[in-house]
């Protein structure tokens, strides 16, 4: 499902680039969150590990968002 939306976003021309960018970032974050919390079962893990993974997701998504504007 997420992949379908990703595919959709690469072929859409009528949405502005900024909107697509935001969409891709949020979808990436959600997909990562799903794999981490559900598949890797981190939602059941000790607090320290949950914090680590949250920070990782936020950090990586944050890099994708903010480094676009660094130049």
């Amino acid at each position: 499902m997420f992949t379908g939306v990703s595919l959709f976003t690469t072929h859409t021309t009528w949405l502005g680039a900024g909107v697509i960018y935001a969409l891709i970032c949020s979808l990436t974050y959600l997909k990562c969150r799903f794999v981490i919390m559900i598949f890797m079962e981190i939602q059941e893990a000790p607090a320290g590990w949950r914090v680590f993974f949250e920070l990782w997701m936020i950090g990586v998504t944050g890099m994708i968002v903010f480094l676009k504007f660094a130049a």
Binding site: T9, E41, W56, L67, A70
Partner: protein, 187 residues
């Protein structure tokens, strides 16, 4: 049923997973900061990639992670039998990923692209190449798990093995989920 508040499988493996994730985060950051410094060059290079390969590979890996999770569920007894089949499916989809990736590399190299072409492709080949290696290792771990589960093995040990193998595999999937947008999708 297992208790909550713990990590699945071998606890030491999670340090390994965390360190690997930090390395890739560093690689991603390195790529993204270079991209910010030369956006049009990177966009030009990105145009040479074919996103279809990556979308197909995403489907392969996400589905393989699903099967790995199902294998873990099977061992915990909430689904009847089938761990072996799920592991085989996981590994099989991993192999499909590798085949598609190799086909993509072949396509790119035939088009005259290489790690030396420009900074974009340097990062592309190094990061996806490193990921490729992780897929191979992940498949090896799962095969090892399958092998070790033959014969009389106590249930806790079986769970431990499958959970450990699946955890590493999910990390491999997770890394790909970031590789997909940063190289293929971002406008």
């Amino acid at each position: 049923m297992r208790a909550t508040g713990r990590l699945p499988g071998e606890e030491g493996l999670w340090s390994f997973i965390a360190a690997d994730m930090m390395l890739f985060a560093l690689l991603f950051g390195s790529f993204l900061s270079q991209r910010a410094a030369a956006p049009s060059q990177f966009a030009e290079a990105q145009a040479l990639l074919v996103p279809t390969f990556a979308i197909i590979n995403t489907i392969f890996l996400l589905t393989s992670s699903l099967f790995a999770a199902l294998a873990v569920q099977a061992e915990r007894g909430s689904r009847p039998g089938g761990t072996r089949l799920y592991l085989i499916l996981t590994i099989g989809l991993g192999a499909a990923f590798l085949a598609a990736k190799l086909a993509e590399y072949y396509h790119e190299i035939s088009a005259g692209v290489s790690p030396a072409s420009n900074t974009f492709f340097m990062f592309y080949f190094v990061i996806t190449g490193l990921h490729f290696t992780h897929v191979v290792v992940g498949m090896g771990i799962l095969a090892f798990v399958g092998f070790r589960m033959r014969g009389e093995v106590p249930p806790e040990r079986r769970q431990y093995l499958v959970e450990s193998g699946a955890s590493f595999w999910h990390m491999v999937d997770l890394l790909w989920l970031v590789i997909l947008p940063i190289f293929y999708l971002l406008p």
